[in-house]
């Protein structure tokens, strides 16, 4: 039976990992901070997938991001999706060579559809994650935002999501600008915007503050995975505990029976 997924999302900008609240960014710590506070050598015991996004507000240096990616993924034996500022096929390739298995795309989904086609042709559609940021709007229900949540695309979000279904993508990462970083729980109403029998797996993001929120998302049939990008809500062993909690409540997450530390060739102290 196919299991649901618990996803951790890291936001990176100019050497630091960031906390985002309604898409406003705050610096939290560097790679060393992250590895210390999350025991990253062991992170794949707690989560099922890692998403790492370059959320720099101005065009970043790709190398700084890929160097971090290489270091972080060295002992991360779960799927890794990376993205942010991918505008050319060779940038996607660079991410895939640095430890990513999938490429996350946001602005180019509608801005540069030919890039999406090219990447799908080269790496397969399963390799592409469409990241979609929705914001509640007074007039239209929801707006479809791009460019780090700053720009609204014309047309209804519902129609955009229908169009998205025909694009060659392997996952939909569905985020809520309004709930982002608030810890108030997911906006489950965004799921009503999806066409019925939406044929792409859905990762729900934006607003998780505790295991109850993960559970509420995972109990929805339309949701394949839930994500948190909150760097402080699940700090330390918070993700481990949330996972155990969810499994104890009967949520079908992959079961971790073996300990990866037992398989390491030359055990080193953590």
């Amino acid at each position: 039976m196919l299991k649901k997924r618990l996803v951790f999302t890291l936001l990176f900008s100019d050497g630091s990992f960031m906390l985002s609240r309604n898409f406003r960014l705050q610096r939290i710590g560097d790679l060393e901070w992250l590895q210390r506070n999350y025991v990253f050598s062991n992170i794949s015991e707690a989560i099922d997938e890692l998403v790492i996004l370059n959320v720099s507000r101005s065009e970043p240096q790709m190398n700084q991001f890929t160097d971090m990616l290489k270091q972080l993924t060295k002992t991360c034996f779960i799927p890794v999706a990376a993205g942010g500022w991918v505008r050319e096929a060779n940038q996607a390739h660079q991410l895939l060579r640095s430890g990513a298995d999938k490429v996350v795309l946001n602005t180019p989904i509608f801005g540069e559809p030919e890039l999406i086609e090219q990447l799908a042709g080269q790496f397969g559609r399963q390799c592409l994650v469409a990241s979609v940021d929705l914001a509640r709007s007074a007039t239209e229900g929801y707006e479809f935002r791009v460019a780090g949540g700053e720009k609204a695309l014309p047309g209804s979000a519902r129609k955009r999501l229908i169009e998205l279904q025909d694009r060659p993508i392997g996952d939909l990462y569905l985020n809520s600008v309004d709930r982002d970083g608030t810890g108030q729980g997911y906006d489950l109403e965004v799921l009503d915007l999806l066409p019925q029998d939406f044929g792409v797996p859905v990762i729900l993001a934006g607003g998780a503050g505790n295991a109850n929120h993960f559970e509420a998302g995972l109990l929805d049939d339309r949701v394949d995975a839930v994500s948190t990008a909150h760097l402080l809500n699940f700090i330390g062993d918070g993700l481990h505990r949330a996972r155990e909690n969810l499994i104890a409540r009967g949520i079908h997450l992959p079961v971790r029976d073996l300990d990866i530390r037992d398989l390491r060739a030359s055990p080193r102290l953590p």
Binding site: L2, I78, G124, Q126, D224, L263
Partner: protein, 203 residues
Amino acid sequence: MTVVDIGLSNTRSVLNAFQYLGAETEVTGDPKSVLSAEVIVLPGVGSYRRAMERLWESQLSDAITTSAQENGTKILGICLGMQLLCRSGTEDGITPGLGIIPADVAVFTTPDVRAGKIPHVGFNSVRPADGSVLFEGLPQNPDFYFVHSFQMMPEGAGGTTSLCNYGIDFAAAYEHENIFPTQFHPEKSQANGLQLLKNFLEA
């Protein structure tokens, strides 16, 4: 162990996993290195046709078949790498494969689960076949990470086939003499995957 690089794969993830287990690793696109390899890993993501074209152009295809069929070199194919070992693929028209496994590759027919979502992506449990070497020491029905839209048809392939179900039963892993492909990604399947890779190295 030697990882065959055709420029379309997540070779780094595969290397990370084998290095964690303490294996000596090498990445190559050179047919000569494949012919002299002790253990071959053929990872793969992307399109069947494009991957086969790369293998033909680089003459890696001949090197892999010679190693696998004449030299008896132990070979692990991962995901698309498993499918490439088969007779043919149907992505973008019919493309001949390496023909090392007597089976064909077909697209998933829309499963009646999860609203028929394709690709099949995520952790799913595998039912290890009796006598499987790859799954030794693993829990019953262990979870592995899959991401694919096509699959090897298990019918008539012989060998030891461990199955997974996504609407239909399909071949999750195959073992026959020196041939050990998996449809899932052991390098992305946490400790279960590392244990399986260890079993492969020790097989």
